[in-house]
Point group: D3
Amino acid sequence: MLNRNIETFLGCDNSYDEAKAVVFGAPFDSTTSFRPGTRFASKTMRGDSYGLETYSPYQDKDLEDIPVFDGGDLELCFGDTSAALGQIEAFTAGIIADGKLPVMIGGEHLVTLGAVRAVFAKYPDLQVVHFDAHADLREDYLGASLSHATVLHRVWDLVGDNRIFQFGIRSGDRSEFRWGKEHVVTRKFDFVGLAAVVEKLKGKPVYFTLDLDVLDPSVFPGTGTPEPGGVSFMELLDAIQTVSGLTIVGCDINELSPVYDQSGVSTAVACKVLRELLLAVIK
Amino acid sequence: MLNRNIETFLGCDNSYDEAKAVVFGAPFDSTTSFRPGTRFASKTMRGDSYGLETYSPYQDKDLEDIPVFDGGDLELCFGDTSAALGQIEAFTAGIIADGKLPVMIGGEHLVTLGAVRAVFAKYPDLQVVHFDAHADLREDYLGASLSHATVLHRVWDLVGDNRIFQFGIRSGDRSEFRWGKEHVVTRKFDFVGLAAVVEKLKGKPVYFTLDLDVLDPSVFPGTGTPEPGGVSFMELLDAIQTVSGLTIVGCDINELSPVYDQSGVSTAVACKVLRELLLAVIK
Amino acid sequence: MLNRNIETFLGCDNSYDEAKAVVFGAPFDSTTSFRPGTRFASKTMRGDSYGLETYSPYQDKDLEDIPVFDGGDLELCFGDTSAALGQIEAFTAGIIADGKLPVMIGGEHLVTLGAVRAVFAKYPDLQVVHFDAHADLREDYLGASLSHATVLHRVWDLVGDNRIFQFGIRSGDRSEFRWGKEHVVTRKFDFVGLAAVVEKLKGKPVYFTLDLDVLDPSVFPGTGTPEPGGVSFMELLDAIQTVSGLTIVGCDINELSPVYDQSGVSTAVACKVLRELLLAVIK
Amino acid sequence: MLNRNIETFLGCDNSYDEAKAVVFGAPFDSTTSFRPGTRFASKTMRGDSYGLETYSPYQDKDLEDIPVFDGGDLELCFGDTSAALGQIEAFTAGIIADGKLPVMIGGEHLVTLGAVRAVFAKYPDLQVVHFDAHADLREDYLGASLSHATVLHRVWDLVGDNRIFQFGIRSGDRSEFRWGKEHVVTRKFDFVGLAAVVEKLKGKPVYFTLDLDVLDPSVFPGTGTPEPGGVSFMELLDAIQTVSGLTIVGCDINELSPVYDQSGVSTAVACKVLRELLLAVIK
Amino acid sequence: MLNRNIETFLGCDNSYDEAKAVVFGAPFDSTTSFRPGTRFASKTMRGDSYGLETYSPYQDKDLEDIPVFDGGDLELCFGDTSAALGQIEAFTAGIIADGKLPVMIGGEHLVTLGAVRAVFAKYPDLQVVHFDAHADLREDYLGASLSHATVLHRVWDLVGDNRIFQFGIRSGDRSEFRWGKEHVVTRKFDFVGLAAVVEKLKGKPVYFTLDLDVLDPSVFPGTGTPEPGGVSFMELLDAIQTVSGLTIVGCDINELSPVYDQSGVSTAVACKVLRELLLAVIK
Amino acid sequence: MLNRNIETFLGCDNSYDEAKAVVFGAPFDSTTSFRPGTRFASKTMRGDSYGLETYSPYQDKDLEDIPVFDGGDLELCFGDTSAALGQIEAFTAGIIADGKLPVMIGGEHLVTLGAVRAVFAKYPDLQVVHFDAHADLREDYLGASLSHATVLHRVWDLVGDNRIFQFGIRSGDRSEFRWGKEHVVTRKFDFVGLAAVVEKLKGKPVYFTLDLDVLDPSVFPGTGTPEPGGVSFMELLDAIQTVSGLTIVGCDINELSPVYDQSGVSTAVACKVLRELLLAVIK
């Protein structure tokens, strides 16, 4: 009697019941205007995580000691953005209802909106910490209000002024930066000030969204809109350990596009970031 | 005084006024469920058409003798399928109103629906000739009624029974083939019977939609869903010359995905097919 | 309560108990001397089979009607060829003991030897039908007796003279062809004579091994040692339907190397061939 | 009435008359001895600049405020180096005659010679600032005096001793470095001393030539002869802002080879560098 | 005492003295106007010929029985077309002077002119048999008289009317085809009539030039200007065996561009074609 | 009379007799469990070293002044790990017997074991300096004791406790790090402490093994198991110059996998590292 073929992200092979966190994929990139492909991120990460160890020499922790369940990928409706976001919201809400931490793998950055809606429904005082190359603060983009380029504006519609803390931002149009000055807290280019934000938000529920293109394209070429001038891998690892001081009630990593990652190094980076993130935020 | 940098498909450098046909791109692939990338087709074809001649030794005709205008690409809304189709419909309607032939470069196959709506508005007795590997006849797909996999069903909603003539079909689920038997005329695998259909439709207004994946993937690897077992390049050229016997009032070629065309051969095929199509159908 | 993430080849989602056939991967390519990579075949095929239908318009059959179980991939020892073959043999023997048909996805061609050993243990009068570009009949290769280039010689060590029937062979050194004339039945270049062989072997237990490089590289570029001059996809489909007249007690397809399949067309071919093979040989 | 399809680099959509600067492509790489492909740079940059913003958060300036005209690409004669340089020289001279700044996109580095000839004809006291990994100071290369490897020696033939200021040089043969010590000012590996040079050249006419391979290949892999050990993107941005203190009367960026830029990150870098350069040097 | 590292094309490891034929590379593509890269052909073929056998099951001959010397690659001057052709001519003349058959691996098609000059100097009644997708008959191209697109016109300048026999031609501008009708013998699309030409030229000295893009791009994608609609691999093999009836005094294969051959299938085709050509023409 | 085609790594064209060091390739990757391809490293490095200079501006030395012989590649038995290691050991022993320095290009890291056996036979007090991302200290891996993941454990079997000095290690399972603490000297992440180790080992015979994946994947993407967080190119160059203070009696660089190096930057890095290593360690 043989077992079915189960594919999970590295070490996330616990049962749902015993798990403290649930990893799942949201393979959606319908609003990506430039170069699509992030829909393949979660599947590719599961496959390539085979080449990675569960043990982190950075944190001296091991994923084998932390119960995580991998719920696979949502089957999302391409071309109907509202429907897809609804699916993500419902799935996330179920995980939260069971008292577990949702850890979503995008997909384009817009998927964050679905997850934030579910988390915000439970935590009305939700704060958002946001690592990204792009401000993502447009009111609308190419006529769409639901877009990868508007997602943090849509999150702001929910949480309101001064609840969003952005780091690493190095791209946006002039109006986004101007609007941002009034409504969100933006640190351009790097993570300076992150520790102070973590201190300030201590004890409050936080959603953490990590657009991997905050990394420099030399480190992370496999993304739709590479923006030179980003942070290094070690700067990001440090920032993730800093973030572990927060009370994270939901998180995601997004914008890995394996189509543009011919050597596989971006997927390796994404896998290691996810490993470190799981080790850092699951208490 | 220098001129602006104008990029057109091979030889399509006539003015709008003098043109009999208008080539334009519809770079949309939001509903593509498997591998996106057809949004890059029209731009890539314009660039690579540089390597092609305007003269066809097959038809002994030259594009320099036929006035065509290249209107560039529509800027379509990603993630809002209805809006994008509306843009395509309006643009096509304008071309038709000016008495010119619309020749659209997709994008995913769903873009055909926008163009057919505009053409059907003028020609209520419209017939449709369809070359494809896939039946594209589903009622809905992953919860969406507007999808690359449903597009011919949506066209049928407009034109009704026995107005759609499919050739080369070699993939679909069982229910599509069954539904098709009642409502459309389907030739599996090849072009046998095409000449008879052309004869039968003589004088009637016809929309011709060519999904390039009707070609075998050895000839045309650069597409989202390659289906082995397709027609050869020469079989397609012959079929295009046969189709020239029809009264074509609108046409498109679609589903080239340059992302999966590393060697450029699929783009070369698409360019040559478009050259031959323009030479064949513009009277 | 969520389910674990199960990945199977297209439609092979039945339970082990109800299944008539068991698909499994043997991701091993340690002896490949030129370009490795076939170890990735089974995983890639599972992922890309998402783009394929369960229904075959060629055979008018549907995989949904045929109970198949996908047992996932063996975890084989790289660098220790004997150990890896032992693992394959033991796994195959278990499937046979349960009265099910083993359907292996290689891997390099040497994996066939492991499966044949298990099948031969039960069926001492085993015959072997072999589609390939290469004779694979060397006595040894670069000093190794267990090699992709010697595998059919090793199978002959088991089954003896005139039990192996090769088709499509178009590469080998002079001595292989000479040795082959004495000991096996070889048809060069194509499938002429296959129907007669099927007739002759009727009722006898047959192992069917399909090296996908029997296909022309235009159809199937994604393989370690491409050999121009091969059969077409339709010729192979026809041959598979012919083979369905045999009493197949074990089979495999091998030598897909996704590393050399940038466009994905070879994986699409391999998936479709496996679908057609399952539909053809499971009674 | 539709407009022709105009393709320009990001935001360079002003009329020729109103423009202060003219961007144009010199797609020539005939003398490239190792890996060709820089001929595709300008076209690829125009297409991919779609993914970039006109606003620079580094300089807090916006290309929308600066009138630039994109004159497209020269159609240069491949295989006849002298003829191609003559075409570049004539085109550049026209721009200078109209009182505008020529901004050329190479092509291989030799194209600089054509532009410098035109600029030097107007400014006999021309100074040259040169960022590069390679000294490019050979007297001849493989028997050719006009070569990417000799271009700065040819420029020296015009401007004479101590008028060329090189930065970032980390490759060359021993004789080049020795010759260079007598005739040009070379800073190896980095930009130390650039501010002093800018100070020294204040008010003098300067041609600025930027071989993008001065960047480390991790940042800029898409070039013909990658040289590890280069400067970072932020170091280059800083240097460009320093260079803005000069009186630049002509400039170019060169040696992007999209053929070796599978992920597109090098093109993204080149686009951003050109944006920053335009914002920095147009007064 | 170790030997130096010698790299030869498959089986061409005889000494110069004992060799009947000399294989050498002419890695030049300076005039290629569209996509360069053929300069890498000869080196790549030597490396990948490792995966091929010396024995041909088509001709039942073995390269081990035929003495061939591989002279490596010429080091040609990029950017100075005349100089490069002079180098090729001189090298070829040396081989002829030693009574051996020159077998050149291009490079772009223009390299043929250098070799033909040397052969014509010895054989003033030289005939030329030419397989190609392109007529290559322009008087000049982009202002250059020495170009891949003019090479057969330049050969005609030497040999005169009705000495050039073209097969497989499917691309050219209208004027080339018209000029060709007066001066050369052109068979479009295929090899029909080749046997008759061979019969007619029996006993006369013939230079045979094979542009591999005569093959369909499905078979041979790795070339600068792919032209769909070409011949199959088996058609080419047959034609090569037909050509063996000629008195070939010089020959070449050209236009393999490994840069566009990601899967390696085109290199495999080129290697096998060269093996079959050597087996066919060396008497 | 022409010379045979000799291919050597940059400048290593001296005769065996006059050479102080012998470069050779060990193209073996049979035990690589994740992504194979290092077998192509040495051949690719020889070809691409064409783009590199023999002169180092870092060390102000020139390879033309240092006699090195390139012995080509061993032809190793794939699939029989013991046999392959035996071949490497014998070849290395011959070089040592002739009083020359062996400089091996891997291949996977396991090839180091073959060379170390030969060197250890002559120098029983051998010390080992090891740069790597991975500890490679497992007792066995997937059932194999001879594996890329166990190679330093096997070396320890020979040399014993505290003779192995590791730098840059950032990956391994928890048990490897624990075992390592007892038996080897491990510096995680960087080269801190290297100078002290060099001082301590002064005068003792040292084998230096450099797994190129110690570099960050941004610098060196072309490797089987990329590990983000590595050292920079300049850090490695510095470390190599530090290592030149040792008495190196054998060395290797390994784990370049050209299959995953589409842009060629990793090969460029490997070539430059080898040039600098030869210049640094040959006395």
